[in-house]
Amino acid sequence: MTQFALVIDLNVCVGCHACVTNCKQWNTGGEAGPLADLNPYGKDPNGTFFNRILSYEVGTFPNTETWYLPKSCLHCEDPPCVPVCPTGASYKRKSDGIVLVDYDKCIGCKYCSWACPYGVREFDEERKVMTKCTLCVDRLYDTSLPESRRKPACVLACPAGARIFGDIHDPDSEVSRRIREEGGFQLMPELGTRPANHYLPRSKTVLPIDEAQVVRAENPLRHDEAPHATGLQPIEEEMG
């Protein structure tokens, strides 16, 4: 069974919001749209977006890490949002695991969004229905698109290549491999929702340099008879 998902590489996400507006762009004009914007040119503008970037600071100066967390529906394998829906408008597709809302059935009771721990469902105030990330399902199977573009809009947009799309049930897929190899994790896994979307953690590259490496045997200073080269002598001798 297929379970499509996004894997988001926090190691390279720079919090640029490309995924946010390109998601909006694709979806407002697509099957999932239109997505309303309220007070678009006035006070407190706000609207329906399927994907948002949160930022956090971890630690204290100077050991601060700045974290960006792109967050959209995680297409949980055990999605609490689905069974609570009284109309069946919220459903999870058996074929590919995508969790969707059928706008024609949704009565806008918002109950599904209560059940979702992640705050990723957004009620569209204009259409009065619940909306959320569709994994751009209207791109995935569109054979009129070139194969390489049959991916979510946010994935194609992401300048850092931080968003990877694929089937996490296929152990050979890139997403599965990266989850496995790079320690992919889920958000609040203890809640039992089994999110399909995973995140890849930050990793640090360090270059330990030891003192002996610093002064090379073939030091140009000796050749150059630099006025300060004397200061190096002891180390050079040590290194033979």
Binding site: N39, D44, V84, C109, C116, G119, L187, Y199
Partner: protein, 303 residues
């Protein structure tokens, strides 16, 4: 959570309606062979109960984005407590109406039998309503059987008080007994609510570290990418300062439980006490929402 007024009215109104029905039926049964209160009392109280039920239903529609599609909500009774509520609520109303008809017809035997169906549906409706909240696992303040129990206790208590109030006018004979029942039920409801308050105060907060998958003691949100707000900020934050929340809690406990007990003891007319209690229960319901801390809020702490 942000208290949704439609839901506050819905749950409190139908809670009282169901309570009244249950109390009426109990009163009816207590006599066994026939009512010792005038039929008018039964019919009036039942009618009021039905009105409250209808009012609750109307209120609930305000909660829906697409009320015209509300009928669709019956389709998912296998999984959704909301769907079950949507089914049980009219069934209960229908059962109550039928029961009143039977009373009106004077078919006591049938009324006794059918009343048990009605009472069962009333209780089922409490369960459905309570479970709507208790089934939301992530809202740990709600996700406990005590939530269902409390819906039942508070509903029955307010129903009893309503019944007692009407009885003071139409069936003075049973009024003191009903008032006493209301008093005790209110006290029991207070205990139930007290238990949940006590429990909720002990729930550890969700941790941002788990929410974002970073393991560190000190994590602060800096932004959420939607400075003008969004649905998730509107729906899950009551937006009131702590003082207001405390005040509402005090009002809820005072008006919803303590004052009614005292006033009933002082002999204040039960209908007045009911109105006061109803206000208190509205406050209680408001607080019920406000005290529920949704884990999604961890993602929306700072604009």
């Amino acid at each position: 959570m942000r208290p949704a007024f439609s839901v506050l009215f819905l749950t409190t109104l139908i809670g009282a309606a169901q309570g009244a029905a249950i109390i009426l039926y109990a009163l009816f049964l207590a006599k066994g062979s026939g009512p010792d209160a005038p039929l008018a009392f039964y019919l009036t109280t039942g009618g009021v109960s039905l009105l409250l039920l209808a009012a609750g239903l109307v209120a609930s529609f305000f909660h829906l984005g697409h009320p015209e599609r509300a009928w669709r909500a019956v389709t998912c009774w296998r999984t959704s407590w909301l769907s079950r509520e949507v089914i049980v609520l009219p069934l209960f109303g229908f059962a109550e109406l039928l029961w009143l008809l039977l009373l009106w017809q004077g078919d006591w035997r049938a009324a006794a039998a059918w009343g048990s169906v009605m009472a069962f549906l009333a209780i089922a409706l409490y369960v459905c309503t309570g479970m709507i909240y208790a089934a939301v696992k992530v809202l740990r303040e709600w996700a406990h059987p005590i939530t269902v129990v409390n819906y039942l206790l508070m509903g029955v208590a307010s129903g009893a008080l309503l019944t007692a109030g009407i009885a003071e006018g139409l069936a003075p004979a049973v009024a003191p007994m009903l008032a006493k029942a209301a008093l005790w039920l209110t006290l029991i409801a207070l205990v139930g609510r007290g238990v949940s308050l006590w429990r909720n105060a002990r729930i550890p907060p969700y941790s941002t570290a788990r929410a974002i998958g970073v393991h560190h003691q000190r994590i602060r949100q800096i932004s959420q990418g939607s400075m003008g707000g969004n649905y998730n900020m509107r729906e899950y934050f009551h937006g009131q300062p702590p003082e207001v929340v405390r005040a509402v809690l005090i009002a809820a406990l005072g008006a919803g439980f303590l004052a009614p007990v005292v006033l009933l003891l002082l002999g204040v007319p039960a209908l007045l006490v009911f109105l006061l209690q109803y206000g208190g229960l509205l406050a209680e319901r408001w607080y019920f929402f406000a005290e529920a801390r949704h884990p999604q809020n961890l993602y929306y702490q700072v604009v």
